[in-house]
Symmetry: C2
Subunit: 242 residues, 2 copies
């Protein structure tokens, strides 16, 4: 029974038995964290790298004026803060959105993972894809209208959650509308307006925590979504590299 981390990393490199065993070994001492709890705070340096196994967390930052921008969703299989291994302090915060199951991984254990070439490659790929996602978010917020932005986020999450087996034509989306608004850089009032539109055009429905996407093709087209940046199905990447 493979954990989400194995599922995800297998998308980037062919992992041998031993690689998988090592990864499964990392996922010990799972901790349950309530919603709206910080895992790491701006300015601090954590002794652990955090890995999400269940639930939604996010990377975020407040501006001087007190506005929050969510800069990434961290879903099952995602490392939250691999960079603390190297950088002196966090330049942003990480917090749960829904209740989460997370693992705190000590630095030495991360370094041990990186000793294994295939794992190292896969983790590097995952980190590069994280950057690619961030770039796409910038395009999204910088160039698209609110409808498109929202649709884009829904599409991206669909594909990302499918990788770890958590989506088919919909998924559990335990966010508040305010969270989504802080993601796409609009007010919550406007987010709601746009959401109503998508619902009325029968593109999606979202009730309780369940999002259903009724017409993914139309939604992708509407939002200008192109999945290239997720680098899905690029298994092996350039295996000769490392």
């Amino acid at each position: 029974m493979d954990n989400v981390l194995v599922k995800k990393l297998q998308g980037y490199a062919r992992l041998c038995e031993e690689d998988q065993r090592v990864l499964n070994a990392v996922v010990r001492d799972v901790r349950t964290v309530p919603a709206h709890t910080d895992l790491a705070r701006e300015g601090e340096k954590s002794a652990f790298v955090h890995l999400v196994l269940e639930g939604f967390a996010c990377r975020y930052k407040f501006t001087a004026e007190g506005n929050r921008q969510i800069m990434a969703f961290l879903v099952p299989g995602d490392f939250c803060d691999l960079h603390v291994v190297v950088l002196k302090q966090m330049d942003h915060s990480i917090g749960t959105i829904s209740p989460c199951k997370v693992v705190d991984i000590p630095h030495e254990q991360i370094l041990a993972l990186l000793q294994r070439p295939r794992l190292s490659l896969a983790m590097l790929c995952a980190a590069l894809v994280d950057s690619a996602v961030l770039r796409e978010w910038l395009v999204n917020v910088g160039q698209r209208g609110a409808r498109q932005r929202l649709g884009h986020v829904f599409c991206e999450l669909l594909l990302r959650l499918r990788i770890v087996g958590l989506a088919d034509n919909g998924y559990e989306l335990p966010l508040s509308q305010t969270d989504l608004a802080d993601t796409i850089g609009t007010s919550s009032v406007h987010l709601n307006r746009v959401l109503q539109e998508l619902r009325q055009e029968n593109l999606i429905s979202w009730k309780g925590e369940t999002l259903a996407i009724h017409d993914i093709d139309r939604l992708m087209k509407l939002s200008g979504f192109n999945s290239n940046y997720l680098h899905i199905g690029m298994q092996g990447a350039d295996e000769s590299a490392l």
Copy 2:
């Protein structure tokens, strides 16, 4: 006479003589590239990593509607596309803005650099800072008004260019207003409006290609600029790491 790459990487790790020699050796076969020329295109995979030595280049992407978002400025000392060593294809394009001097570095040579622990650490830090910059840009575009956004970009470039010795209280900024508009996600008309305001408030002047910042403190305050995310002066980072 150290090149900009050495200058920059020394900010992240204490490089030994040999490290510096190796870096200087990389900077052979400098190529001059005219303005508005692509160094790498979305969808392709380059055989080389590009390093900027002089001039401004950028990371960019067009949306389906034909709008351009600039996602990063690449200034002297910056690697443009380290990730091609690992990923199968570019998910965005890289192009020069002004005429540039660049070096095309073959993959094997990059891998050779990464064999040296200090260099490897420094390059990793640089890559992590690039991500941090990207996150800050997302905050900028998502949460701040156009004045603040523009001021923020000016502040960031000042600090980044100082690292490589290319700025004091101003710097050469060879961009068009359209380039800047595509950076902060506004129309060029609005960019111009905001620019006039900053000029009239005597915060900056920008004539020809020379930007002068008259009151950096006030500009930083106005734009909510906090330099933490650049991780300047964190030399050594966590040297025990790699």
